[in-house]
């Protein structure tokens, strides 16, 4: 169940990245895809009637697989870093072009490259 929710979130984010032209919305959608993929990974550790894998004596209880929960922390941190850095760069582009429209920025950058004979 959680796995399919993850896949759906991932898909929604992906479609939004592909069709929305506003860069801020694109980054929000990127956050959604990341959340989806992370949810998929956590969901893998689930077992029927499982408990949280924090226990002193857990010989006779069923607990969720701790490994996906441990590794997923790295993924969360990485995705946070990516979003933060990407937003900084979007700010830089907005300062330069006063726009968050990806197609508009693409055109302006291309024109600059064509005219300037840029390195």
């Amino acid at each position: 169940m959680a796995f399919s929710v993850g896949v759906v979130l991932f898909g929604i984010g992906l479609v939004a990245i592909a069709i929305r032209r506003d860069l801020v919305i694109k980054l929000l959608a990127l956050g959604l895809t990341n959340a989806g993929s992370i949810l998929c990974l956590v969901a893998v550790g689930d077992r029927p009637d499982a408990r949280v894998p924090i226990c002193a004596v857990c010989r006779d209880v069923i607990y969720a697989d701790p490994l996906p929960q441990a590794v997923v922390l790295s993924a969360i941190v990485i995705n946070f870093a990516i979003l933060a850095l990407a937003l900084v760069f979007v700010m830089r582009l907005v300062e330069q072009y006063h726009s968050t429209d990806s197609r508009h920025i693409e055109d302006l950058v291309q024109r600059e490259l064509d005219e300037g004979g840029d390195q």
């Binding site: 896949v7 993929s37 990485i78 990407a86 830089r92």
Partner: protein, 511 residues
């Protein structure tokens, strides 16, 4: 123990570089020396073909992270060291660059870590780290074109890595391990299970975004041509190969042969077509990188031990000459004030002789003139008995590469020109000498894989013939260059291309 030090020392040094900017240059040299010493030690220890394996923290292999120094690491580590040395020498006399050396250390730490990693999730983390550092380095000078190129890189790579992570989840759900060695054993029992196809699709498509396969890596031309020269050299020579290393590791676990053949062929041909009609030197080099990655993917598709040896050789050779070409192209564009071919040719007197020499050596290497690096490596690849389809694509790509690089011919005139700083000459020499005196590394370590001597004359004829045909076609072709569609490199189209590519890979794998 040594294995963990190899990448970790770079992360410590990166922090130190950040803390004391003044000592950063010295620390960069220290880092290089440490890695060089460790690499020599490891290669000597494994020269009989053995591998060194370490399970970190004493965990068993199915739970913990396993590092392994194998033939792939032994082959690629020297290339890492050479490219790093060239990059350090190249930027030595530039104005002080805050954070640059720290980022460089992180980049190389990640590269070494990936070469040792045998764990899928570990590889995911390292690939993301490479994305982040690469993103900061591409946008280093904060020019708008760079910022936009690196933002596109980040978004697309992040989408790709999302697929990879879901693939990791699928693998863990069905096998309970992420260790590649153990996975190979488990999959040998059930090669056709539906989840295997799904996992293979997600993992391959995810890495393909980082590895520079056409349709997946539409960010590459803009990012590699906009980045500062030393960064372009490292990204094109090294970082993009890390994706190929991961695909190599995946192809030893999952049955990817036919898919890689298709992707490789498309990448090799489309890359070279775009390279042939690029108007800007660095952009042409970036497209040529795409086509050469296709070459490597085709080699992986053949899949025999000799083909894999050829892939490693070609990856090293390509790292050397593409690194050299990017460094020299950066210098030439700066001297002329523009990177366009028209301007370069009309103002060629401003380009220093050493730079022209470096461009010449790089060009001769990449078109595969015997006995330089490009030929030596290609000979191993072509000598590994590919099928007719792969062989045809390989030859067509050689012709196309010669056609594309024939545009540089007017530049190769030596004259009295502005002199070149000695650091730059040293940087060129570090990369040019191995190109001139290239010995296929895998031929040394695995003598049984050396070519039969009967095939060699044929390969020389093929190679020289391809160059001749390419240059001839360039002479015959009309002077005006057609404009190829640019839209496929826009962000939205690139995301759609990844989705279509993913579906194609899935269809191809499930048939």
């Amino acid at each position: 123990m040594i294995l963990a030090v190899l990448p970790l020392s770079r992360f410590v040094l990166g922090l130190l570089c950040h803390l004391s900017e003044r000592k950063a240059r010295l620390l960069a040299v220290v880092g290089w020396c440490i890695s060089a010493a460790l690499t020599v030690l490891l290669i000597l220890e494994t020269r009989d073909g053995s591998t060194i394996t370490v399970g970190l923290g004493g965990w068993p292999a199915d739970l913990g992270i396993v590092l392994r120094f194998d033939a792939v690491s032994a082959a690629v580590c020297p290339l890492v060291l050479l490219l790093e040395l060239a990059a350090i020498l190249y930027v030595r006399k530039d104005a002080p660059r805050p954070l640059f050396y720290a980022l460089l250390q992180f980049l190389l730490g990640a590269v070494f870590a990936l070469l040792l990693s045998q764990d899928l999730f570990n590889e995911y983390v390292i690939l993301e780290l490479l994305t982040l550092v690469g993103f900061l380095l591409v946008g280093y000078d904060r020019r708008p074109a760079q910022v936009w190129a690196s933002l596109k890189y980040l978004v697309l790579a992040s989408v790709g890595m999302g697929f990879f992570l879901v693939g990791v989840a699928v693998v863990y759900r069905h096998t309970g391990t992420l260790n590649l060695g153990l996975l190979a054993g488990i999959l040998a029992d059930q090669p056709d299970a539906p989840w295997v196809v799904l996992a293979a699709t997600l993992l391959t498509a995810g890495v393909a975004v980082k590895a520079g396969l056409f349709g997946f890596s539409q960010w590459l031309p803009a990012a590699h041509s906009a980045a500062p020269p030393a960064v372009s050299a490292l990204l094109s020579g090294l970082v993009i190969k890390m994706g190929i290393v991961v695909i190599l590791r995946l192809s030893q676990v999952f049955p990817l042969g036919a898919t890689l053949q298709l992707l490789g062929a498309a990448t090799a041909l489309l890359g070279v077509v775009y390279a042939a009609y690029a108007r800007n030197l660095k952009r042409m080099l970036a497209f040529s990188t795409l086509s050469q990655i296709g070459y490597l993917a085709l080699g992986l598709a053949i899949g025999t031990p000799q083909a894999l040896a050829g892939v490693l050789d070609y990856a090293i050779a390509h790292g050397l000459f593409k690194g050299l070409l990017f460094l020299a192209a950066g210098e030439a564009s700066r001297a002329v004030g523009s990177g366009r071919f028209d301007d370069l040719v009309s103002k060629r007197a401003a380009i220093p002789n050493a730079t022209v020499g470096a461009l010449l050596v790089g060009t001769l290497g990449i078109v595969g003139l015997p006995p330089l690096a490009g030929f030596g490596a290609k000979a191993v690849l072509l000598g590994s008995h590919p099928n007719v389809f792969v062989a045809t694509i390989l030859v067509l790509t050689s012709i196309g590469t010669a056609f594309a690089f024939a545009k540089l011919l007017p530049l190769f005139r030596f004259r009295r020109a502005a002199s070149c700083p000695s650091d730059r000459i040293a940087a060129y020499a570090v990369l040019a000498l191995p190109i001139l005196f290239f010995v296929p590394l895998t031929g040394v370590t695995l003598p049984s894989l050396q070519l039969g001597s009967g095939l060699r004359p044929l390969l020389v004829v093929e190679s020289v013939g391809a160059i001749a045909i390419g240059v001839l076609l360039h002479r015959l072709s009309a002077r005006r260059t057609p404009r190829l569609p640019r839209r496929i490199f826009f962000l939205e189209e690139a995301v759609l291309a990844i989705l279509i590519g993913l579906l194609l890979v899935y269809l191809f794998l499930s048939v």
